[in-house]
């Protein structure tokens, strides 16, 4: 028994010494380097989101450092894996704050992990810019938390405005995934604005999260014969719906939101001539977008998705704020963030009083022969 207590205390001492040593080493060399943390899922099911965002962020850091950094100081991006798990995210954040002593955080990538870290971040007054967390609550009552992406309801409104103003649609039907906050949120916003624009919602159909048979709902929609069918869901659900609709000979234009990104790969025929809202378009005429895509492809060989673009923009916005603040004090950075305006790949980013993007452009994309084509940009 005595022996065990002795060995336990020995282990405890060793662990403690490792921590204190780590603390020493990281605080000594930080004069010439500004450390920014990144948190997102880099492994597991959601890895694609985290890795894309971190690759975009890293690309921006490299570019900024090449151009001279922030007042001669280089930026170091320290990325930790949240594994899409709330506890892991909190651990990662604690490590960034205590061990690495970062001055600001880009993250979290997913809404759930960001909400889990929110209370800690607010208590620490850490300057946080989430590239991609869309849940409304992320920025509520959190003066130090900002985000680079627009919210779910914002793109629903943009889709409705596009349907009315550009497509001249008067009637629309909704097809909503019940129990899916994303689908419900975007549809509700679409319905509100489309009705306010003088349009009529002729029908609202729904399906469960595990449903694969959509024929009953589509039969009803066909009978209603709307000009637009709004289906804001992810590719795995939207694809079969579009294919079934094509098979049934439904001629309405289908529209959706950023969850459609990737629909052109496996459902090109069924998705032909339909539209969705997104954060950016790879074939946008903007020079900024094209140079970003070239740089990204040189580095990672794939075409960047929205997550990469938002991660890239987030770093630029944060850097701009730190430069404007002239110091790495949290309060100075947060104040600077509220005043920052950045022309980025995903549009013009400036923040409203909540820390959400204000008047950001929503890109409308048309699917044409298996390609995503830039259609137009909408500002609500």
């Amino acid at each position: 028994m005595k022996k065990r207590i002795f060995s336990l205390s020995l282990v405890a001492m060793l662990v403690l010494s490792v921590f204190t040593l780590a603390g020493c080493s990281s605080s000594s060399s930080s004069d010439e380097v500004i450390k920014i943390g990144f948190i997102g899922p880099l492994s597991g099911d959601a890895a694609i989101y985290g890795t894309s965002a971190s690759e975009g962020a890293q690309l921006a850091v490299d570019e900024i450092n090449e151009a001279g950094g922030i007042d001669g100081k280089t930026i170091e991006l320290i990325a930790y894996d949240s594994k899409a798990d709330q506890t892991e995210a909190i651990n990662a954040y604690n490590r960034l704050r205590d061990q690495d002593e970062v001055v600001a955080v880009i993250g979290g990538t997913l809404s759930g992990e960001t909400l889990a870290m929110k209370d800690l971040m607010v208590a620490d007054n850490m300057p946080v810019l989430s590239p991609t967390a869309t849940a409304v609550d992320v920025t509520v009552d959190a003066p130090n938390i900002f985000r680079a992406c627009f919210l779910d309801d914002y793109q629903g409104k943009a889709a409705a405005n596009f349907a009315t103003n550009d497509l001249g649609a008067k009637t629309a039907a909704l097809l909503v995934g019940t129990g899916n906050p994303y689908s419900e949120g975007v549809s509700a916003a679409f319905e509100e604005v489309f009705t306010a624009n003088g349009g009529t919602i002729v029908g609202s159909e729904s399906y469960g999260t595990t449903d694969k048979d959509f024929s009953a709902q589509l039969t009803k929609i066909k009978e209603l014969n709307p000009e637009i069918v709004f289906v804001p869901d992810y590719v795995q659900t939207v694809g079969p719906i579009l294919q079934k609709a094509a098979e049934m000979g439904i001629t309405a234009t289908f529209m959706g939101a950023d969850g459609w990104d990737g629909i052109q790969e496996e459902y090109a025929d069924a998705a032909q001539d339909n539209y969705f809202t997104n954060h950016y378009a790879a074939d946008s005429p903007s020079e900024l977008v094209q140079s970003f895509i070239t740089a990204y492809q040189d580095e990672y060989t794939t075409v960047p998705n929205s997550f990469a673009a938002l991660g890239y923009d987030a770093v630029y916005v944060m850097t701009k704020a730190i430069t404007a603040a002239g110091s790495t004090e949290a309060d100075a950075i947060i104040t600077a963030l509220t005043e920052t305006e950045n022309q980025g790949v995903t549009g013009t980013l400036k923040f409203d009083e909540n820390g959400d993007p204000k008047d950001k452009e929503v890109t409308i994309i048309k699917i044409d022969q298996g390609q995503l084509k830039f259609e137009t940009q909408v500002v609500n």
């Binding site: 099911d45 469960g208 595990t210 694969k212 048979d213 024929s215 709902q217 079934k244 000979g249």
Partner: protein
Amino acid sequence: MNLFLQQLINGLNVGSIYALIAIGYTMVYGIIKLINFAHGEIMMFGAYFAFIAATSYNMPVWAIFLTSMIIMAILGVAIEFIAYRPLRNAPRLSALITAIGVSIFLQNLALLIFKADPKVMPKLFPEKIFYLGGIEISSTTLITVGLAIVFMILLDLYIRKTKQGRAMRAVSEDKDAAILMGINVNRTISLTFALGSALGALGGVLYSVAYIQVFPTMGVMPGLKAFIAAVLGGIGIVPGAMLGGFIIGMVETMTKAYISTTWADAIVFAILIIVLLFKPTGILGKNTREKV
């Protein structure tokens, strides 16, 4: 009225698939009194083999169906041989738990081999819409319902008219007496698994063609619903499974069309509870008291 008929066709489409899968449940139960919960996974693997045959080997349509059905028939027999046969004389509960284990094993095996992301099933039939009165029927629906009915008739004839069919009925009625009559019980049980699994695979291929995707957990919900269909029709009775399948498909589609999509699954499962409470032997089942 036309809308109602159109929904009826939708119900017939999904119902015929449930019926095909339900037959597998009911045949196996009829012969060894085992609810083979791995049957939904048989259906899923059937769909995957059809997917591979269609995309990698570019086979003609009839060969795709045949390959998938034959492979699954062999796999069904293998599962029975490896997992269920050693438990033939064990308590029924052990076999049931084993069946659930096999189901989970097969699901994870598929996850390992094929990964979680849904594969898109190529269109096997030329797309065409037929007009019948005011209603429209797609070629996929027509072929699905047609194939299902043809195979059900063939199975019914096989069970009623052939020698092996008669052996099957004999084993299901009284296994020990069947042995005394010189029937090879093991071979008959294998044959039952082969037929049930082949029809399950057919159901899986038709399901993936109708609903486009193939993924490791695709067998779970249709499997459960087919199980309810088998219970509703009277488990152990082949025509009952067919009837039950069509009824469940209709109820599901009509609930979605006229009541609420969120309630569709709840209502289908409520049917199971109601049947078990009021007529546990099912629609076509006879009320026989179990001998003690």
